[in-house]
């Protein structure tokens, strides 16, 4: 039996009176890459934010078990320290805080009580991750996401993932809005993260990124429910047909 990292059980989520997630079950094993696909407004981003603990969303039913324990009561920082990471679709800026300083703080949060990370070790870690993503050193001195282009923001999310080495990385449309070169670099970042120890939940609208990152499993989310699951071939099928046949099929039921 594979080692289960994340188990989402019958999850229901409301924003105001609106139920956005309407009963999701999802299991992710250690060392696997899952793609979660779906049309706009299907609840993909909501699911990623709920998993990370965004205060705006109210879980009305179900549970989320991460590495053996329910995390619904944990604030986002504790979920992060437990090994969860979210690459944001729309990352916030933190003016006045350099990328290097930001990363140092996030690492320090993980080394409380331990021997602190030496400056040399930290620099090596950061430079190494930056090189994999072709991020220039001077970017590390810029303020976090402040004045960054869309592509730069996505790369910075990947940088954080590679430095923090989360057990589960949730990538919320990290591939959207990128040109082909940028997409390739992001894909390389994801492949660099992929390992028997690390799981990835890749949330995407398009099949495009899956040409570079081959998922172990594909789930299709429509109107707050997972309506179809399969292997990589499911993504290719969707690329050909679009989401319409699935939506029609559902309507017919």
């Amino acid at each position: 039996m594979a080692d289960v990292i994340l188990e989402v059980r019958d999850l229901h989520v409301k924003v105001g009176d609106n139920e956005i997630i309407r009963g999701i079950d999802l299991t992710i094993e250690r060392g696997t890459v899952h793609a979660l696909m779906g049309p706009n407004g299907s609840g993909k981003s909501t699911l990623s934010l709920v998993l990370m603990g965004h205060p705006k969303y109210a879980v009305t039913q179900g549970d989320v078990i991460f590495q053996g324990r329910s995390i619904l009561e944990l604030p986002p920082n504790e979920r992060s320290l437990a090994g969860m990471f979210l690459a944001f679709q729309y990352p916030s800026s933190v003016p006045g805080v350099s990328v290097a300083n930001f990363m140092r703080n996030t690492l320090m949060a993980r080394h409380k009580g331990d021997a602190p990370l030496t400056p040399a070790k930290f620099k090596a870690l950061l430079d190494n991750a930056a090189a994999k993503l072709k991020i220039e050193t001077k970017v590390l001195g810029r303020y976090v996401n402040d004045g960054f282009s869309g592509g730069e923001k996505k790369r910075l999310e990947m940088l954080q993932m590679l430095v923090l080495q989360p057990t589960l990385a949730i990538l919320d449309e990290t591939d959207s809005g990128l040109d082909i070169d940028a997409l390739r670099i992001i894909a390389q970042g994801i492949e660099a993260q992929r390992s028997p120890e690390h799981s990835i939940l890749l949330i995407t609208h398009y099949q495009r990124i899956l040409n570079y990152v081959k998922p172990d499993k594909v789930h299709v989310l429509v109107k707050g429910r997972i309506v179809k699951e399969g292997g990589p071939e499911l993504a290719q099928e969707l690329e050909r047909t679009g989401y319409d046949p699935i939506i029609k099929e559902l309507a017919a039921v």
């Binding site: 965004h54 006045g96 930001f102 996030t106």
Partner: protein, 470 residues
């Protein structure tokens, strides 16, 4: 020099040089009148002109209404009869460490302030032993011909210079509080920098700490002769406890042609203190004056550092931050008076309000007729930490010239849920995340500070965000 002499004397003679007039029985009492002013002047053994200046100033103070520039109900509540206007070091030393409030002591602990400094900052001792540092710096300055002393010593030792410039930038009649300061001033710093001399280390009031340093009514006068440079730092980030409820300083800067003065203040008065300060600079041809002004403490601060741009090519800058928490009002800003063509001014103001604290930006840009080619840029950013807090902007522009370029931009933002969530999602607690966001907001100010001040200020903000600072 007088200061060294004073320090030597202080070692075995507790009351210092001033006790040459000890036979005169001075007794501090509350309230202000001509007797008190007379006694202060006599105690200090001052020349006749200063004595008369004080009396004249007192008359102005007594007859002047509160400043109309910024009406403030907190200000109206000051009871001038309930204040000590002059206390000698010996009067102050009666206090013990036990008298210093617990919250202040806790903050000292967490900021890692050394023992000797704590007692000074807590107002327990009048003297802070920094002789070693102090002497080497003194020697260096003396070699360059720089004069740096407390204002009382400056008046005694260099009466000609003081008399020439004293109260020429801020006359007693300027406002009620400058009149009050002129009547009862004591302490502060006197600096004169010879032509062409660049003082490469910041001069800090810290280096010549005595009881007057943190006095209620200090008076500072800095004269930078043509082509010279000096950076003066006043105050410190640690909370400064004072049993005095009113602090009203006057600071006058004079930057001659091509001179450059930078004046850095970090004010963290205890949260019962009224901090009403008049700061003004004269910048002559191609001179450059910078006010770097940080306001963290006090109950009410009203302070608008000004630069009078008197000669072509002169440049004035104010970079200020204000932090107001519960029960605090930081009413701060800047005034730039363009009295010559092709002068430039830049005002950058950043404020953070938390727990119902209130910050105001109050500014004036004035351009006189015929002063073409003036450029001015004003930027005010306010950050609100919660809905109970408040921030206002009161900009005034009086422009009587035609060819000018004036830009004003003001933003008010809230620490957003999204931003907080983003930072927390990387493993930082809510307090850590908030601290990071606020420190980032203040970064343009902090990076202008010498390292040790920058580190302390960042740490102080962290304590404020935890809500554990008194």
């Amino acid at each position: 020099m007088a200061l060294e002499e004073k320090q030597l004397v202080d070692k075995d003679y507790k009351y210092g040089f001033r006790d040459q007039t000890d036979s005169y029985s001075f007794k501090s009492r509350k309230g202000i009148d001509h007797d008190i002013v007379e006694q202060i002047s006599q105690m200090k053994n001052e020349p006749q002109w200063m004595r008369e200046f004080r009396h004249r100033s007192l008359d102005i103070f007594l007859s002047k209404p509160m400043p109309a520039w910024a009406k403030n109900e907190v200000l109206e509540a000051i009871d001038f009869d309930d204040i000590y206007y002059y206390m000698r070091a010996s009067d102050r030393e009666g206090k013990t460490w036990e008298d210093v409030p617990e919250d202040i002591k806790r903050t000292f602990d967490r900021l890692g302030i050394p023992e000797a400094e704590r007692k000074f900052l807590g107002g327990v001792t009048a003297q802070y032993d920094s002789e070693v540092v102090y002497h080497s710096i003194r020697k260096d300055l003396e070699a360059k011909g720089v004069l740096f002393s407390d204002m009382d010593a400056g008046l005694r030792e260099h009466e000609d210079i003081v008399r020439k410039y004293f109260a020429t930038v801020i006359p007693p009649a300027d406002n009620k509080f400058s009149a009050l300061n002129s009547a009862v001033w004591s302490g502060g710093s006197f600096i004169w920098v010879p032509p062409g001399v660049s003082v490469d280390i910041p001069l800090q009031a810290y280096f010549r700490i005595n009881s007057e340093n943190m006095g209620q009514f200090e008076r500072t006068l800095i004269i930078a002769e043509p082509g010279s440079f000096v950076h003066y730092i006043e105050g410190c980030t640690a909370p400064t406890y004072s049993s005095n409820s009113l602090h009203s300083a006057v600071v006058e800067l004079i930057a001659m042609e091509g001179a450059h003065i930078r004046y850095t203040t970090i004010q963290n008065w205890y949260k019962t203190v009224y901090n009403l300060v008049t700061k003004r600079a004269m910048a002559y041809k191609n001179a450059h004056v910078e006010w770097v002004d940080g306001n963290i403490g006090s109950k009410l601060t009203m302070k608008y550092p000004s630069v009078y741009l008197m000669g072509e090519g002169a440049r004035g800058e104010v970079l200020s931050i204000a932090y107001a928490s519960e029960g605090q009002h930081q009413d701060a800003g800047a005034k730039m008076i363009h009295a010559a063509p092709n002068t430039t001014s830049i005002i950058t103001s950043k404020s953070v309000s938390k727990n119902g604290g209130r910050t105001s930006y109050r500014g004036l840009i004035k351009v006189y007729e015929g002063c073409d080619g003036v450029k001015s840029n004003v930027r005010c950013d306010a950050l609100l930490m919660d809905p109970q807090s408040r921030s206002d902007t009161y900009p005034t522009m009086e422009v009587d010239a035609k060819d000018v370029r004036i830009e004003h931009e003001a933003t008010v933002s809230k620490v957003g849920e999204e931003q907080l969530f983003y930072v927390m999602s990387r493993g930082l607690t809510e307090v850590e995340a908030t601290t990071m966001i606020v420190n980032g907001f203040f970064e343009p100010f902090v990076k202008e500070l010498p390292m040790e001040y920058a580190v302390e200020l960042n740490r102080l903000i962290a304590l404020e965000m935890e809500g554990s600072v008194g």
